[in-house]
């Protein structure tokens, strides 16, 4: 069944190629092919999910093809529970984003749809790559279509925003490239050969001396934190969101930001555990500052897109907090929160987009009294707002609760103030989101243009209703999704606790050989001894 994962990457790429071959006059064909291939990708992703065995440890659907033998770089892909949920999120949001593009995109459609499909391939590639070089290729490949989507189909100040987005994120990724090479070189010196194989690097990782780990940790973390974006590296986000077309914002908020948080889990925690112990508190604090700061700044915004952009800073703060709690609860919460944020913020951007199509403004003050004119829209937007507020019974709550719970139970953070301040974020979330909703829906319809706005079209209903159904599904029965990733994260946390405290009470099924005991693929000069030395150098665990 491994071909499914290859097909997942191939279908949008083939769609990209096909769109390029269709003459630009055949707009219907172009739209049909891109929608069709994105839907097919979604079906493939669901198929992969259904065929996924959450009770089996390790990566599944693994495909490994030799690429650059001398450096042991390969086309290695595979999924575990963590990446699978993000693959599903990406595949799910793409058709909605394309549907939302049919009307608003009125020039250079051919290039637009080609770029969107290329973007989808690259994003999926980021999540399934099991090779550091392949990961880096996909990571950078994401930038190119997104740069054009903002720069060509964006708003008035699009060139500034696109350039800022591109350069800002590029700075981080270049450091990551250095770290990737460095890791390979370390493997060459200590494990018998240069490698980009993620699995091999993961075996090797705990033996890397702490001084080196620190550098590598920050080289990766900086790149990821810019993408998240973690306070204070977030200022590219409001500009990019404001200028991007609706679908661009949906994908940007829904998927691109998750690449950062995914990277933190996949690379920082897995490859540099000892450095993670050291910097967890710092990053968790930045997450908490982000929660409060993003919420407060969002409250001051009058541009709808800016408001939602800053709300992302706040929501992603919960995710970072959950990740660096390094507990199963926190990581599960962070992961489900990644999905939730993708869904609810994606929906908020879709809603802003459809209002923009009707009124050509994003200023809150221009609206008011829409509840009477667009009743169905009012209901659906309310659900999106409530999901984003974290109302229990809807999806957002599950993620926020588990992230905060993880931080509260964490043996690595052990500072309850983080939890208290983080929890206060939900007050401000209610404040700015209700301000947003009330300015749109209630009060006076100040501008006569608002009197006769059309309620949702069928296409818009088709975009919004599936999202709402997922809000309820995840809110009421999150087990479906939590179960997918539980085992992978248990394995990770068990490894981290083992390294830090020497013992762990996380139960990982007996069929799993504890990761750190697996013999490395190639004989290394006594990694066990290095590991022991490393452990000795760590400060003694707190009781």
């Amino acid at each position: 069944m491994e071909f499914l994962l290859v097909a997942l990457l191939a279908v949008p790429l083939l769609g990209f190629g096909t769109v390029l071959l269709i003459p630009r006059e055949r707009l219907g064909w172009i739209q049909g092919v891109s929608l069709g291939s994105s839907v097919l990708t979604l079906l493939l992703a669901i198929g992969i999910w259904l065929g996924f065995h959450p009770e089996k440890p390790g990566f599944q659907y693994v495909v490994s093809v030799r690429w650059i033998d001398s450096l042991d770089i390969g086309f290695r892909i595979g999924v575990d529970g963590v990446s699978l949920l993000l693959v599903l999120l990406t595949a799910f949001l793409m058709p909605l984003a394309l549907l939302a593009s049919l009307e608003p995109i009125r020039h250079r459609q051919k290039e637009y749809y080609a770029m969107m499909l290329l973007l989808e391939t690259a994003m999926l590639g980021v999540f399934v790559a099991l090779d550091t070089f392949l990961f880096y290729v996909f990571w950078e490949l994401v930038l190119i279509p997104m740069y054009f989507i903002i720069g060509i189909w964006g708003g008035r100040n699009r060139v500034y925003a696109a350039l800022k987005f591109f350069l800002y994120t590029l700075v981080g990724s270049l450091l990551m490239l250095v770290a990737i090479v460095w890791l390979g070189v370390y493997a060459e010196q200590h494990a018998g050969g240069f490698t980009a194989d993620y699995e091999r690097l993961r075996q090797l990782a705990p033996t890397i001396p702490l001084e080196l780990q620190r550098w590598l940790f920050w080289a990766f973390a900086l790149s990821f934190c810019i993408k998240v974006p973690l306070f204070p590296l977030h200022t590219w986000l409001p500009d990019a969101h404001v200028e991007a077309p609706t679908a661009g914002s949906v994908i940007l908020a829904g998927v691109l930001l998750k690449m950062g948080t995914y990277g933190l889990v996949r690379f920082n925690l897995e490859l540099f555990p000892q450095a993670s112990f050291q910097y967890a508190t710092l990053l968790a604090w930045l997450g908490v500052v982000g929660i409060l700061y993003g919420a407060l700044v969002a409250f001051a915004q009058t541009d709808m897109k800016k408001l939602i952009a800053y709300s992302s800073v706040s929501h992603l703060g919960f995710i970072v907090l959950g990740i660096f709690s390094m507990t199963v609860e926190g990581l599960q919460g962070a992961l489900i929160q990644m999905v939730n944020h993708g869904l609810s913020t994606g929906m908020l951007f879709l809603c802003v987009g459809l209002l923009y199509e009707r009124r050509h403004t994003r200023e809150l003050a221009e609206f008011g009294g829409l509840a009477r004119v667009m009743p169905l829209f009012a209901v659906l937007l309310l659900l999106a707002v409530l999901s984003s507020v974290g109302l229990p019974g809807l999806n957002g709550f599950v993620g926020e609760f588990l992230s905060l719970l993880g931080a509260a139970r964490s043996r690595f953070l052990d500072n309850f103030l983080l939890v208290v301040l983080g929890a206060c974020g939900v007050i401000f979330a209610a404040a700015y989101l209700l301000k947003f909703y009330h300015s749109l829906m209630f009060g006076e319809a100040r501008n006569p243009e608002n009197y006769h706005l059309r309620d949702l079209t069928w296409s818009e209903r088709l975009q919004l209703v599936p999202l709402v159904l997922l809000f309820i599904w995840i809110g009421v029965y999150p087990h479906t999704f939590l179960n997918t990733s539980e085992l992978a994260l248990r394995g990770l946390v068990a490894k981290l606790e083992q390294l830090r405290f020497g013992v762990t009470n996380i139960s990982v099924p007996p069929s799993t050989p504890a990761p750190e005991r697996q013999p490395p693929a190639t004989p290394a000069p006594e990694p066990q001894k290095l590991l022991e030395e490393q452990l000795r150098r760590m400060p003694p665990p707190r009781p």
């Binding site: 199963v328 509840a371 139970r409 309850f416």
Partner: protein, 653 residues
């Protein structure tokens, strides 16, 4: 039994889904009303069946839990969707569904002709569902779902008439009042959220029975954890039950339709705080500091709100402050460990306060949405049934024997006297005096005296039967409700005649034993004295109000204003609490977010730094660019200079 328990919240949920999804296209108001009320009615009947089952089983086996499915599980944390029926949750269930049903029926008449008729009933059904989840849950997290869920319904229903203006501090529209309620409740909810994290950290579970048994077994009295958790939970209670310092949202919540005020903001939702304290009573019993704070806050709120209620002129605002004050009574009782007295007052208060609100609704309806009592008067003749039921409710809330309020208030006063001494008793007695006074001020200004409304335009008429019958039923309950809790002092027959206290005894026994309160059946002469004095104080309030407002009418109101002088203004402006919050909290936060964080820090410093780097790089490039002049002679000159410099370096060093 399992199915029965799960079915209690199921029917309102079904009603909500049916009406919420398809109600828009239903033509018949009667059908919508029947479905909405019927769903709650069925729940009430089911609760009665459960009650009869519990009554048949022995006292120790009156707890039934039914688990539907595992809700959230991650790592070692897990929590279920599970409902628990026990004496305490059943009392609340019966009140919620019983009073809820009556208010649903009343709403069929009250909301007649409203374009959002279906929406109203959908929201009400959702509210009942959430309230049932709150009280029936077997763990804190599921209670939290109901807790925030009822908050959502409250928000939706306060702003139900979303295009109507509503005046208040920082409030222009009814929806603003809803938003205020939601946000102030959220402040409290953070307390509950953090309390849950502490509970999981400490006990590893959120199930009530596990928490209470483990807490009693492992924590010493006055332990830090118990104190922290209970303080945080009490913060949540002050939000939901409108206690100081989070009380100011409730009077503004009167922007909602009157049945909403009766159901949510008087009879059920606002008592959730009392429920939470009662549910976790063993934990609270382990935290004497929290208990003292609850007593203080409760008594303070009871008196403050009652005094504000003396001078308000909006009929619903008077009742709102009355509710805040009565909730204060309940918390004072809970604070001294008289949990069953608190629950008793929840029950009787649900009867007479719902009745007062529904009566007020009938009046407002008859006067075409007029809520100012200065523009009412003389309605006794036009609305005899409403008058009589309102009078019964007023007598009940004033605590005149043998009406229900007398018994529950007496139970609270006596327990406070025992637990918090004469000062506590005096504070509550003063509040009770105010209660009697403002209740009969309403009677006088609304139903007696000259007709001050526009008689040419408005012809008041008695409410239709669909509204009248619930009034009569609630009036009957307000009269006989006291029979649930007859004190031993009045009926020394060998066993405890207080049915409710006996019923709740298994629930509160652990907490009471921790507090060292062993129920003994004795009679003190002080108890009779306290009872007599309290009744006398209430009667004095009634007499004073009667003389001012029934005999003098609106002139009495002017007299009150004169006599109170500056105090009148202070009370009229509600001790300036709203203004203080607006100036002290809301505006600074707005300034902080707009000016400091966004404009200075975000745009100025952080983004300025980013753009600054770009600028520096750009400038640097602009300087370097000058080297590239494109003139070959310059390049040759530079090359020559370079060669000379290199050569001299090699020669000299």
């Amino acid at each position: 039994m399992d199915f029965l328990i799960a079915a209690i919240p199921l029917f309102p949920l079904l009603g909500f889904m049916l009406l919420g999804i398809s109600g828009r296209w239903w033509r018949s108001e009667k059908l919508i009303g029947a479905v909405g009320s019927g769903a709650v009615g069925i729940s009430f009947l089911l609760s009665l069946i459960v009650l009869s089952r519990l009554l048949q089983s022995p006292e120790t086996e009156r707890v039934h839990t039914t688990t539907l499915y595992r809700w959230i599980a991650a790592g070692t944390f897990q929590v279920d969707i599970a409902f628990q029926v026990d004496p305490l949750s059943l009392v609340f269930t019966l009140v919620v569904t019983g009073v809820g049903f009556l208010i649903h029926v009343y709403s069929i008449g009250y909301m007649h002709g409203d374009r959002g008729f279906w929406r109203f009933f959908a929201y009400l059904n959702l509210f009942i569902f959430m309230m049932l989840v709150l009280v029936l849950s077997n763990n804190v997290l599921l209670t939290f779902v109901g807790w925030e869920g009822v908050g959502l319904c409250s928000y939706l229903l306060i702003g139900f008439w979303y295009d109507r203006p509503f005046a208040g501090v920082g409030i222009l529209w009814t929806t603003d009042a809803g938003r205020k309620a939601f946000i102030m409740n959220r402040i409290g909810d953070v307390g509950m959220l953090v309390a849950m994290f502490l509970l999981v950290k400490q006990f590893g579970t959120l199930e009530y029975t596990a928490i209470t048994t483990q807490a009693a077994a492992t924590l010493p009295v006055g332990s830090e954890v118990a104190t922290a958790v209970t303080l945080l939970l009490f913060l949540a209670c002050t939000g939901k039950s409108a206690q100081i310092p989070l009380a100011t949202w409730l009077p503004d919540a009167m922007a909602g339709p009157t049945p909403v005020s009766a159901l949510i903001h008087a009879a059920t939702m606002v008592t959730a705080g009392v429920f939470l304290v009662a549910r976790l009573s063993p934990l609270f019993a382990l935290a004497p500091a929290t208990m003292t704070l609850i007593t203080l806050i409760g008594a303070l709120t009871a008196l403050t709100a009652a005094t504000i209620g003396l001078v308000q002129t909006d009929i619903k605002k008077v009742l709102a402050y009355s509710t805040v004050s009565q909730l204060g009574f309940m918390f004072t009782a809970a604070g001294v460990g008289a949990f069953s007295a608190a629950v008793f007052h929840v029950v009787t208060h649900a009867f007479f306060k719902a009745l007062l609100f529904l009566g007020a609704g009938a009046v407002i309806h008859a006067l075409h949405e007029q809520q100012d009592i200065r523009l009412m008067g003389g309605l006794k003749r036009h609305m005899p049934t409403t008058y009589r039921t309102f009078l019964i409710a007023a007598l009940a809330i004033a605590g005149i024997p043998p009406l229900s309020g007398f018994f529950s208030k007496d139970a609270i006063l006596w327990n406070v006297f025992e637990g918090a001494g004469a000062i506590g008793w005096l504070v509550l007695a003063a509040a009770a005096f105010c209660t009697a006074f403002y209740s009969f001020r309403l009677i006088g200004l609304v139903f007696h005296g000259e007709e001050r409304f526009d008689r040419h335009r408005i012809h008041p008429h008695e409410a239709p039967p669909v509204m009248r019958i619930p009034l009569v039923i609630l009036a009957c309950l307000s009269v006989v409700g006291g029979l649930l809790g007859i004190p031993y002092a009045l009926l020394p027959i060998g066993t405890n005649p207080n049915v409710l206290e006996r019923w709740l005894e298994p629930v509160f026994a652990p907490a009471l034993s921790l507090l060292g309160k062993v129920p003994v059946l004795t009679v003190h002469w002080e108890e009779y004295l306290a009872m007599l004095v309290a009744t006398g104080i209430s009667a004095a309030g009634i007499v004073l109000a009667w003389r001012l407002f029934v005999l003098r009418g609106i002139a009495g109101e002017r007299l009150l204003e004169q006599r109170l002088g500056a105090v009148y203004t202070l009370l009229w402006r509600k001790y300036y609490l709203d203004e203080a919050y607006q100036k002290g909290v809301v505006e600074p936060v707005e300034q902080l977010s707009e000016r400091v964080l966004w404009r200075i820090l975000d745009v100025g410093v952080i983004d300025g730094f980013v753009n600054g780097i770009a600028l520096v790089v750009g400038r640097f490039g602009a300087v370097l660019r000058r080297l590239q002049t494109g003139i070959a002679q310059t390049y040759a000159m530079l090359m020559l200079a370079g060669i000379l410099a290199l050569l001299s370096w090699l020669v000299l060093f």
